[in-house]
């Protein structure tokens, strides 16, 4: 492949990702006839919804050159509160508010640590993850919340004009995200902060406010994802959300976000999530024990990062 076409592929992230998805489908179909059935593809898409929402937030955080590995903890804690409100028999609107509210508050905590405490995001969210995991154990008291009532079922099973309602959430949230990034000063500020924080500050961008926004927004999205999680599984375990941070980071990086900040590609993130879930589903159907999932996802992250760095270098070499 010539350097030109490599650059073109690197520039058209969505194209290469879509090709990768098709390639994965082709390979896995050869391993398992069940892979390419409507039922399985529906399962894959259904399993992607929570990750899609969380990855949207992670894309914004990465755009500011931040990272959040505490999202799994936020998902767990929000889910616990939702579970409790269901058990207590709260009216539906109140229950619907609980998840996003708890998530938003916890997101604000991360934002506060990063902006006011000036703690590097990796340290702040690693510390918070430790705290959240302890909190999840203590809140659950060692047992699971299970057998929750079916109150929230319509939240995941319903359809609007024939379109599954979960798809509507995804489209709406991503559209708003795109609007913010593309048309609002806030989005420009987010990208500017990640591109060059000092320059952004000197140019008068509200650096702190932009960072605070991305963590809060992620918290909100994780809280909403927790709502869907509880609606679907109707239980909360201590291990809820343990590896979702990795999946979300991989999906966003696959989608073209740079961990160095300054870039966000929302369509890419969607395709990244689909690819991650396709691979995870395909490997299981191909007979790889699910214990290998972390190994595969972790290696995928490294592979993408290495390829990205190589593409960037060759692009810079070309233009120099």
């Amino acid at each position: 492949m010539s350097a030109d076409s490599i650059r073109w592929l690197g520039g058209r992230r969505e194209v290469s990702l879509a090709l990768a998805c098709l390639g994965a489908v082709g390979v896995f179909r050869a391993f398992s006839p069940y892979f390419l059935t409507a039922a399985n593809l529906t399962t894959i898409l259904q399993n992607s919804v929570e990750l899609l929402l969380i990855s949207l937030g992670i894309s914004f955080i990465l755009a500011t050159a931040g990272i959040d590995i505490a999202v799994g903890g936020v998902l767990g804690i929000s889910a616990i509160f939702i579970g409790w409100s269901l058990e207590a028999g709260w009216p539906l609107p109140a229950t619907l508010l609980v998840g996003p509210l708890v998530g938003t508050c916890l997101g604000m905590v991360s934002g506060f640590m990063v902006v006011v405490g000036k703690v590097p995001p990796i340290i702040a969210t690693l510390g918070l993850f430790g705290i959240y995991r302890a909190a999840i154990f203590l809140l659950l008291g060692g047992s699971w919340i299970s057998g929750l009532p079916n109150t929230l079922a319509s939240l995941v099973n319903g359809a609007v004009w024939g379109v599954p309602v979960v798809a509507v959430y995804v489209v709406v949230f991503y559209f708003v995200g795109w609007l913010i990034l593309r048309w609002f000063p806030l989005g420009t500020a987010v990208l500017a902060v990640g591109g060059n924080e000092r320059a952004a500050q000197l140019a008068g961008v509200a650096v702190g406010r932009s960072k605070f926004f991305v963590y809060t927004m992620t918290g909100f999205l994780v809280g909403f994802a927790a709502l869907l999680y509880v609606a679907r599984y109707r239980n909360v375990e201590t291990s809820t959300g343990q590896t979702i941070a990795l999946d979300a980071i991989v999906a966003a990086v696959l989608g073209g976000s740079s961990v160095l900040g300054g870039r966000a590609n929302l369509i890419g993130t969607i395709l990244g999530v689909v690819l991650v879930r396709l691979l995870q589903n395909g490997f299981v159907l191909a007979g790889v024990p699910s214990l290998w999932e972390q190994v595969i996802t972790g290696s995928l992250l490294l592979l993408v990062l290495i390829l990205d760095a190589a593409l960037e270098r060759s692009a810079r070499f070309k233009s120099a």
């Binding site: 703690v119 690693l126 430790g130 214990l291 490294l302």
Partner: protein, 316 residues
């Protein structure tokens, strides 16, 4: 006041440690016994070794961080137990396991220096890869039944002091301190952590030093895996769980700056003893071990906020 705070940092940490000892001694008289003292040392070795590696990684700057240490502890511990079970001489198996840990660290180092990945994402990737591998390769089951004589290192003691404290932790600490303060390579670690660009301009082999730091972290983690194997006479695939959080917190609480270039091992070691005393104390009071994880998270954030505060004070 700021300067005093910085100077007092180690003393403050020691004071905090003594405070914790005193608190638990009051709550539970058995806490100050020789037996408990030796159990604190027993528990501190694995964390101490991993923290030594972590401290150097952070000191070397450039956003240095090693999130994969726990995975390396588990994987190299498993490799040692596996080779012994396959009939390899335990001594050779141990050497092989330590070399294997060095190799895993080398992979981290390559990702950071050759492929130019940010350390936090590079080691986040290997964190999942290494931890995942140790669970996947064993189906989550421990490799048990190592020969009893293999337990000498991990279980033996002289005058209540565990053998591994005397023969591994102490010598490692002294050698590393000597290297850090008296050997050029050690000084260079501080130098590249303090001002990487200047070091490159004067021709220091920055990448090579960093690579070495990550290999060292892998070696230390593998050594910790060996001690754990020998202590438990089995290798558990999750033995390294939470060690990344604990070692980072110990290093930062010990006064090493997250931005590299300042700090040292003495503080890290005190922080490790502080943690293990805290842990055994909580156990004696029958407090759920999960509380510890929460406290550690708090300490981590607290120590970085404190560090930022000190730095801000210095720069004005």
């Amino acid at each position: 006041m700021i300067a005093a705070l910085k100077r007092m940092r180690l003393a403050g940490l020691v004071a905090l440690w003594i405070l914790v000892l005193a608190f638990f001694a009051v709550r539970s008289p058995a806490f100050l016994s020789l037996a408990n003292f030796s159990s604190i040392l027993q528990f501190s070795t694995v964390l101490a070794l991993v923290t030594f590696g972590q401290t150097l990684v952070i000191l070397g700057g450039g956003g240095g961080i090693d999130l994969s240490v726990g995975g390396i502890v588990s994987l190299s511990g498993l490799s040692i137990a596996f080779s012994i079970k396959e009939g390899l001489d335990p001594f050779l198996a141990s050497l092989g396991g330590i070399a294997f840990g060095g190799l895993l660290g080398f992979i981290n180092g390559l990702l950071v220096t050759k492929f130019r990945l940010l350390p936090l994402v590079a080691t986040l990737g290997t964190f999942y890869a290494y931890n995942g591998l140790s669970v996947a390769l064993t189906d989550g089951a421990p490799i048990a039944g190592l020969p009893p004589f293999f337990g000498t290192l991990g279980q033996g003691s002289v005058a209540g002091i565990p053998l591994h404290t005397v023969f591994i932790v102490l010598p490692t600490f002294l050698i590393l301190e000597f290297v850090l303060w008296q050997v050029p390579a050690g000084r260079w670690i501080y130098a590249i952590g303090g001002n990487e660009r200047a070091c490159r301009l004067v021709g220091l082999p920055v990448d090579l030093i960093r690579l070495g730091i990550y290999v060292h972290s892998g070696l230390m983690a593998a050594l910790a895996g060996l001690v754990a194997d020998s202590w438990l006479l089995s290798a558990r695939p999750n033995i390294g769980e939470n060690l990344e959080l604990l070692s980072l917190t110990a290093a930062l609480l010990g006064g090493t700056s997250i931005f590299g270039g300042s700090g040292g091992l003495a503080g890290s070691l005190v922080a490790v003893f502080f943690f293990t005393s805290f842990q055994t104390g909580l156990q004696m009071l029958n407090v759920n071990a999960i509380w510890q994880l929460g406290f550690v998270g708090l300490f981590l954030i607290f120590s970085v906020v404190l560090d930022t505060f000190i730095r801000r004070g210095e720069s004005t």
